[in-house]
């Protein structure tokens, strides 16, 4: 008997985009179209078809931990949905050996009116646990979630952190043969994420197969041995994780690090200031979503002035994903620049800020922007204009796989002196 946990062959999944426009949302539309042309089989032209998955074939051995990376819309979630039987493939076949447990979105199936205790049972049952299994693990789940004191309080009174911890605790104590994890780490604080990662590596050590989708490259590197890179519904690379992550980050497949403002997103009172785009660029000048902590990064803001503005300053707020401010910086902070750009004539502008390597710690960061004249007028402000990730590979102290506290991780000069 081969030790293959998942075998899929030529798996494809098609969505009809046309359905979005042509779908008969109400019975009346459906009846009308049936009366008009009852026997016409409505043809769907090619550009109305989206292959969310196209000819996916792979085998995954029992006990391996596989990462799946790819841009939004690359088909990662569809793949997980097909593997966990939420939806059927359009063609191709698959064979899954063992019970599949999904750790999809944390809290799916929680009912706000029910207490923590009740939700543990309900959620466990939804995820496919037997009642006796839940009873056996109940204390462990409560322990892990750290909400013991509130276990008989309706979860609608929980803080979002407690809610998350409880939801994750239930899902993490599922004991499926194959665990499917979709981007659970996008939420929660660093401490919680550390705990989740720990739990997931436990699961892997117990010989279970784990499929792990994430945009967090350091989590992928830490947890998985092998990674699939997906793009436009296909698997474009399967390789040992560090190789696959390298490929993904450098190939421009990464999620775009660009935010573009449409006309209707700009408040009227911003005039004459018109934001156009905000970009995160790596050392090579590519627009990316993930920056290695060992490389310089540039934040570039493109905007239009329809009229001349005196004393304008354009700047960035840098915040951690939890919303703590790390620093604020403006393009005319330097007195010399302040003099030079005391009046900005109408035209298209770029304000670029280079942030040196070894500034940020591992994690996700938020860039806010502000365009104002000091104490006179704020033209435009967006506190969450864009986010980017820092991949800590190569950062100082990485020989210890621990979470470093604090949002920054500078490379400092240490001297060790023996006397």
């Amino acid at each position: 008997m081969t030790d293959i946990a998942i075998h899929v062959d030529q798996l494809s999944k098609k969505y009809k985009l046309g359905a979005m426009y042509e779908r008969q949302d109400t019975l009346r539309d459906f009846l009308v179209s049936m009366v008009r042309s009852p026997f016409r089989k409505r043809p769907v032209s090619d550009n109305q078809i989206l292959w969310a998955l196209k000819d996916i074939s792979f085998d995954i051995e029992r006990g391996s931990v596989i990462g799946i990376v790819g841009r939004n819309g690359a088909g990662k979630s569809t793949l997980l949905k097909v593997l966990s039987r939420v939806t059927d493939p359009t063609s191709g076949i698959g064979e899954i050996r063992g019970r599949v447990g999904s750790l999809l979105e944390v809290g799916t199936g929680f009912h706000p009116e029910l207490t923590g205790r009740e939700n543990i049972y309900l959620n466990g049952a939804i995820l496919g646990m037997k009642r006796t299994e839940i009873e056996k693990k109940f204390d462990e789940i409560v322990d892990f979630s750290e909400v013991a004191k509130f276990i008989d309080t309706p979860v609608k009174r929980y803080s979002s952190g407690m809610y998350l911890r409880l939801a994750f605790a239930v899902a993490a104590h599922l004991e499926p043969d194959i665990l499917v994890v979709d981007e659970v780490l996008a939420v929660g604080d660093a401490e919680f994420q550390r705990k989740c990662l720990g739990k997931m590596s436990d699961v892997a050590e117990q010989g279970r197969t784990v499929l792990f989708v994430s945009h967090n490259m350091s989590a992928i590197l830490r947890l998985t041995t092998e990674t699939l890179v997906m793009e436009k519904g296909r698997i474009v690379k399967r390789a040992p994780s560090n190789e696959a992550v390298d490929y993904y980050l450098s190939s421009g497949f990464a999620e775009t690090g660009e935010r573009i403002w449409n006309i209707d997103e700009i408040p009227e009172n911003a005039a004459p200031f018109r934001p156009k785009a905000l970009r995160i660029k790596n050392e090579q000048g590519l627009v990316v979503n993930t920056i290695r902590s060992t490389e310089d990064m540039t934040i570039e803001f493109e905007y239009q002035l329809d009229d001349s503005v005196t004393g304008l300053r354009v700047g960035f707020y840098l915040m951690s994903a939890r919303g703590e401010f790390i620093f604020t910086t403006f393009d005319t902070d330097e007195p010399q620049k302040y003099e030079e750009f005391s009046v900005r004539e109408p035209g298209l502008y770029f304000s670029r800020c280079k942030i040196p390597a070894d500034t940020f710690n591992d994690g996700r960061f938020v860039v806010g922007i502000n365009a104002s004249t000091y104490r006179i007028r704020r033209y435009f402000q967006d506190e969450r204009a864009i986010t980017f990730n820092i991949d800590p590979a190569g950062a100082p102290g990485m020989q210890w796989p621990e979470q470093r506290l604090g949002p920054t991780r500078p490379r400092l000069n240490w001297e060790i002196e023996k006397i």
């Binding site: 008997m1 899929v8 798996l11 969505y15 359905a19 779908r23 008969q24 949302d25 109400t26 019975l27 009346r28 459906f30 949905k81 097909v82 593997l83 966990s84 039987r85 939420v86 939806t87 059927d88 493939p89 359009t90 063609s91 191709g92 076949i93 698959g94 064979e95 899954i96 050996r97 063992g98 019970r99 599949v100 999904s102 999809l104 979105e105 799916t108 199936g109 009912h111 009116e113 029910l114 009740e118 049972y121 309900l122 049952a125 939804i126 995820l127 496919g128 037997k130 009642r131 004991e175 043969d177 117990q206 010989g207 279970r208």
Partner: protein
């Protein structure tokens, strides 16, 4: 973990082609989920209401009082000598159970959209739980019925033993229609608006406020085409016993009702099974 190599379940993923297997074993494997969903429904239903569980009793009682004044006192609907309050209450109990179950089972599926698009489980557990969770309400309001039987000194007959059968029939009818409507609801949200009207009209088409004896004996079995007539008349027959049955042989009517229910239920299961494969994509 102890891996038992012989017991590893194998799941095959393949495109949906042809008629889906009914695969009722699936439902058995997920019986605990049915239990928990039913239980959740019960727990949540009367949360944040002042009167809480009392609504279970108040609903049929208020209905009965209104009907008694309107149809019993003012319009004097013939009841073959049976006091109107118990005449209508015996019919209201199964009717309210049915109406509640049908509403829940046809609308909760769409209400669970985020579950359906993320987790696998046999979708049918949702309408099933919708039908089951009404049973507790029903059993509680039976207490009122017992009180009324004592008050009107109605002596129970052996017919009463048939009550569970008619309850079961009501359940299957609600489930059959619930499966059809909930599956249609995934695609056509019109169902959400349709169901309240359907139930309102259905109530008048069913001998709840009047009795089947209004219709000439020869045509009475045709009333059974509405399976709820079978249920409601069955309840009267079981509860009111000899007093009622003297005037009316409900046999043919029941047979028609049961047949219709089975047809709806079986076709409902087939329809549901064949459409559930696309629920996650279009819900």
């Amino acid at each position: 973990m102890t891996t038992n190599q012989n017991q590893i379940p194998i799941t095959y993923l393949r495109p949906a082609k042809g008629l889906a297997a009914l695969n009722l074993k699936d439902l058995w494997d997920y019986r605990e989920l049915i239990y928990f969903l039913t239980w959740r429904d019960l727990k949540v239903r009367y949360k944040q209401t002042v009167l809480g569980f009392s609504w279970v009793i108040l609903q049929p009682v208020i209905n009965m009082v209104v009907f008694t004044v309107l149809f019993g006192q003012l319009l004097k609907v013939p009841t073959d000598g049976i006091p109107y309050p118990i005449f209508s209450f015996a019919a209201l109990l199964p009717w309210l159970y049915f109406a509640g179950s049908l509403t829940r089972s046809s609308t909760t599926l769409v209400g669970s959209a985020n579950l359906i698009s993320k987790v696998f489980f046999p979708r049918m557990v949702i309408p099933i739980a919708g039908v089951l969770s009404g049973l507790v309400d029903f059993l509680v309001s039976l207490i009122v019925l017992v009180g009324m039987m004592l008050y009107y000194q109605i002596i129970p007959t052996w017919n009463l033993l048939m009550l569970p059968v008619f309850l079961f029939l009501a359940m299957l009818t609600a489930l059959g229609f619930g499966l059809w409507l909930s599956a249609l609801n995934v695609r056509f949200r019109d169902v959400n608006y349709l169901v309240p009207f359907l139930i309102e009209i259905w109530k008048y088409a069913t001998p709840v406020i009047y009795g089947a004896t209004l219709i000439p004996e020869r045509f009475r079995f045709l009333l059974g085409l509405n399976p709820m007539t079978g249920v409601v008349e069955g309840f009267r027959w079981a509860i009111l016993g000899s007093q009622y049955v003297e005037n009316f042989d409900p046999g043919p009517l029941f047979i028609v009702s049961i047949t219709i229910t089975l047809v709806i239920l079986i076709s409902g299961v087939i329809f549901f099974r064949n459409t559930e494969r696309t629920f996650a994509d279009i819900i």
